[in-house]
């Protein structure tokens, strides 16, 4: 087990290093000068030069790469060009929106998707099965920004149950949850559809397994056999998907964040790219990559929790 963790840690470090190189140098070739962006149309050449020096943009590339890397290792991602505050603080503030949103959406997706999948699997080939699977197909096919817009039109503009967007902060947790509800629904719908489909097909596979028949031969009822034997085995592929979904929800919410003008990580990245605030872009992408790798790792651990074959040395 220790060996495994060590190996994973090394491969994690290598992955992060490669990612950092890719991120840094892709951003190097990005056209557009942050200094010019900040000073606008009438900026004088001296002012531009002065600002570039101030931002440390005139140092050689490798020096800047190295100092970025060294800074990150000590938790210092640099000072945002545009906001003039440490990038890490900007990101931390956004994470307080993005992570709860992603978790909220994932919980919703799970609460909707898993029961639907189980229902469809147990009623295989019935109209209920066909109906739920048809619904999930539509859930996947709806462009989520469009769905989000329709949600706003219905629940904010017409019914006025929720505000149309924005985020009031966590001082009032109730208001914060309200503000995240519509975005979470918009994000969760397609994910719930995917989960339902995976859950269904995975459960159908395990229901066909011999050990489910064995369980019934012991005298378990169909539903006992399903919940005690098939379900847990079926969760394994579902976990993989959920791991992928979490990272997607963390970063992929940009469009939803735009529609609901939420101060999330995705929108920060988007704004930073537009403003050529390379420090922030780099840090956000790096942190997201890191998050994905960590989540993948967590999913591996979760596997081990579910599956004893992975817990001890043998397979």
């Amino acid at each position: 087990m220790l060996n495994f963790v060590l190996r994973r840690a090394v491969s994690l470090a290598i992955s992060l290093l490669v990612a950092s190189v890719v991120i840094f140098f892709v951003l190097e070739v990005l056209p557009g000068d942050p200094a010019r962006f900040m000073l606008g149309l009438n900026a004088s050449p001296e002012a531009l030069a002065a600002l570039r020096t101030q931002l440390g943009l005139d140092a050689p590339v490798l020096v800047r790469y190295w100092s970025w890397l060294a800074g990150m290792a000590s938790g210092d991602f640099g000072i945002s060009y545009t906001y003039r505050t440490p990038a890490i603080e900007l990101i931390a503030a956004r994470l307080w929106v993005s992570i709860p949103l992603a978790v909220y959406a994932l919980v919703l997706a799970t609460l909707i998707g898993i029961p639907l999948g189980v229902l469809a699997a147990t009623k295989r080939n019935s109209p209920i099965d066909a109906g739920t699977m048809g619904l999930t197909q539509i859930g996947i096919a709806l462009p989520n920004f469009w769905f989000a817009m329709l949600l706003v039109l219905l629940f904010s503009v017409t019914l006025r149950w929720f505000s149309s967007g924005g985020f009031p902060g966590w001082d009032d947790p109730g208001a914060a949850m309200m503000a995240l509800t519509l975005p979470a629904i918009a994000l969760a719908l397609p994910q719930a559809a995917i989960l339902a489909r995976v859950m269904r097909s995975s459960l159908l596979d395990t229901l066909d397994e011999d050990y489910v028949r064995t369980a019934q031969a012991k005298g378990l009822t169909r539903s006992q056999a399903l919940w005690r034997h098939a379900f847990r085995n079926a969760l394994i592929p579902v976990l993989t998907i959920m791991g992928l979904q979490f990272s997607f929800l963390l970063a992929g919410a940009i469009i939803i964040e735009n529609v609901f003008y939420l101060p999330g990580l995705g929108r920060l990245a988007f704004q930073a790219i537009t403003a050529r605030d390379l420090i922030v872009v780099r840090s956000v992408v790096m942190i997201l990559v890191f998050a994905v790798i960590v989540v993948t790792f967590a999913v591996d651990i979760a596997y081990a929790a579910v599956d004893p074959r992975l817990r001890r040395g043998t397979r």
């Binding site: 495994f4 028949r213 064995t214 012991k218």
Partner: protein, 527 residues
């Protein structure tokens, strides 16, 4: 009155008739052997009794268990009976257990479902039952997971689950086919003991006549969903009445007629072959444990000689076969074929393969389902490089080879799924023959076949060796088969060759403990 009585049982699945007029009975403390070739309906008979049939199934007739009619019983009633009054052991020990649950809990579950016992009480009973099937908690803890057990041990867990509540009826569906002979013997002993001690009725399903003849009081022969013959075991084996049973018994004891050809110079020489597998298992990746599958194996095969290789599962037979063909690297030792060292890749490898071919165990799996038979059979011609015949010449060659194994030439245009198991294995032999090799390695080439088909294939092999001077390396775990087709036999255990000699001599008068054990474990018809 018998414990279990089937009366004119009929079964259709989605309108297809599977069972018809099946009538059987078993008394308490008796063993009924249900035999028949693959697909004859043995498993579905068992599942009908348990009422665990697939969707679309329609059952008619009567199943009497202790006076109750199971055909008419509701699902709730059945749930009460399953596990309590009747238990079942399934064919595949590898997949019949839930991989995420400890074996103790799986056995305890039977108890908890029916007796409503608390967790610890149920566990106690489970531990007891496990002990009864030869898995004492001191050696095999009930908190182990299925993957931590061997196949035989898993099968015992399956048995423990079935007998935990001492049911009156136990149905065992091919409980030993997935196990090697020695393990098979242990399991059969265990079942026989239970019947004796507990007065349980046992329905033993198998395709192996030798196994039932050892175990059963009465035997029923199933053919295409009908019982063609039933009666006391002895009588049925010794004097079968129906032609089908007669054919079945004949095939089981069939020995191909073959004349020992002259053995020429040494064709294959293996010296000190050693193979270590690096174990990269699950989470403990990186640790450098190795497993020695071959441990200094040396052997020779002469031109025209037929050599058998026996040994229980995992003893390294397949590894050796692959190493001989140059498909597996060796960590030490060497393989020489016709005076040339066998290489693993490149032109040199092709040169030796040119004269060595192989026939595999799975008659279906060893063919790419997407290619036509003509192409499949011609594939080894690749070894001839530019000298390979092309176009019409190639087609003619394929046709000739197919005919030589008794398959019509027109088969070349069809896909492999259009053939029966026996035909497929003959096509596999044709494929091996197409480049006229000097040695054919057959790795469990007949294990997957029904007895009657197996007899045909063995005849074919014998006939070929009569026609051309060809050497066989015949790998099997079935001593019966080895006896029938080989001149000399090698016995493998744990990666070593422990005994070697003329087939008759070794099997009649084994010198080594291990060989003796093997010979003793092998079920014999009428034994």
């Amino acid at each position: 009155m018998s414990l279990l009585e089937l009366e004119k049982l009929g079964l259709t699945i989605d309108g297809t008739r599977i069972l018809e007029d099946v009538s059987l009975e078993i008394g308490a403390g008796k063993v009924l052997g249900l035999v028949g070739e693959s697909g004859s309906g043995k498993s579905l008979t068992a599942l009908s009794i348990m009422r665990l049939l697939p969707g679309g199934a329609n059952l008619t007739g009567k199943i009497g268990l202790d006076g109750r009619d199971l055909v008419a019983a509701g699902e709730g009633e059945m749930n009460g009976l399953r596990g309590q009054a009747m238990g079942m052991i399934f064919q595949e020990p590898m997949t019949a257990l839930n991989p995420l649950m400890t074996i103790g809990d799986q056995v305890a579950e039977t108890v908890r479902v029916h007796r409503g016992l608390g967790r610890s009480e149920a566990r106690g009973l489970a531990a007891e039952t496990l002990e009864r099937v030869g898995l004492p908690g001191a050696m095999i803890s009930p908190s182990r997971y299925p993957h931590e057990l061997s196949g035989g041990q898993r099968q015992r867990v399956g048995i423990a689950m079935a007998i935990a509540l001492r049911p009156k009826l136990l149905i065992a569906d091919e409980p030993t086919t997935a196990l090697d002979v020695t393990t098979q013997a242990q399991i059969l002993d265990l079942l026989a003991g239970l019947v004796r001690e507990e007065g349980m009725a046992l329905m033993l399903i198998t395709h192996d006549l030798a196994v039932v003849s050892q175990m059963a009081d009465t035997i029923a022969v199933l053919h295409q969903g009908r019982v063609v013959e039933a009666g006391p075991a002895r009588r049925l084996i010794d004097a079968p009445e129906s032609p089908y049973t007669r054919q079945l018994v004949a095939a089981s004891t069939h020995v191909p007629t073959r004349v020992r050809g002259a053995v020429g110079e040494v064709l294959l020489r293996v010296e000190g072959a050693t193979r270590d597998y690096r174990l990269r298992s699950g989470l403990s990746m990186g640790s450098k444990t190795t497993f020695r599958a071959l441990d200094g194996v040396s052997l020779t095969i002469g031109r025209g000689e037929s050599v058998g290789l026996v040994g229980e599962s995992g003893s390294g037979k397949s590894t050796l076969a692959r190493a001989i063909l140059g498909l597996e690297p060796l960590d030490a030792g060497r393989v020489e074929f016709a005076g040339r060292v066998v290489e693993r890749a490149g032109r040199a490898a092709r040169l030796t393969l040119r004269d060595m071919q192989m026939v595999f165990q799975d008659p279906y799996g060893s063919f790419d389902p997407r290619h036509r038979v003509g192409r499949l059979v011609a594939e080894p011609l690749h070894l001839l490089g530019d000298k390979a015949p092309k176009g019409a010449e190639r087609e003619a060659l394929v046709a000739r080879v197919l005919e030589s194994v008794g398959i019509e030439a027109s088969a070349a245009d069809r896909h492999i799924h259009a053939f029966s198991g026996g035909q497929r294995q003959r096509i596999a032999i044709a494929r091996a023959l197409v480049i006229e090799p000097a040695l054919i390695v057959l790795d469990e080439a007949v294990s997957a076949l029904d007895v009657s088909i197996r007899a045909q294939v063995l005849d074919l092999l014998a006939a070929i060796s009569q026609r051309v001077a060809i050497s066989y390396l015949f790998i099997a775990h079935d001593l019966q088969v080895v006896r029938a087709i080989t001149d000399r036999v090698l016995v493998m255990e744990g990666g070593r060759i422990v005994e070697e000699g003329a087939t008759e001599r070794v099997l009649e008068d084994p010198q080594q403990d291990y060989t003796r054990q093997l010979v003793r474990a092998a079920p014999k018809l009428g034994g």
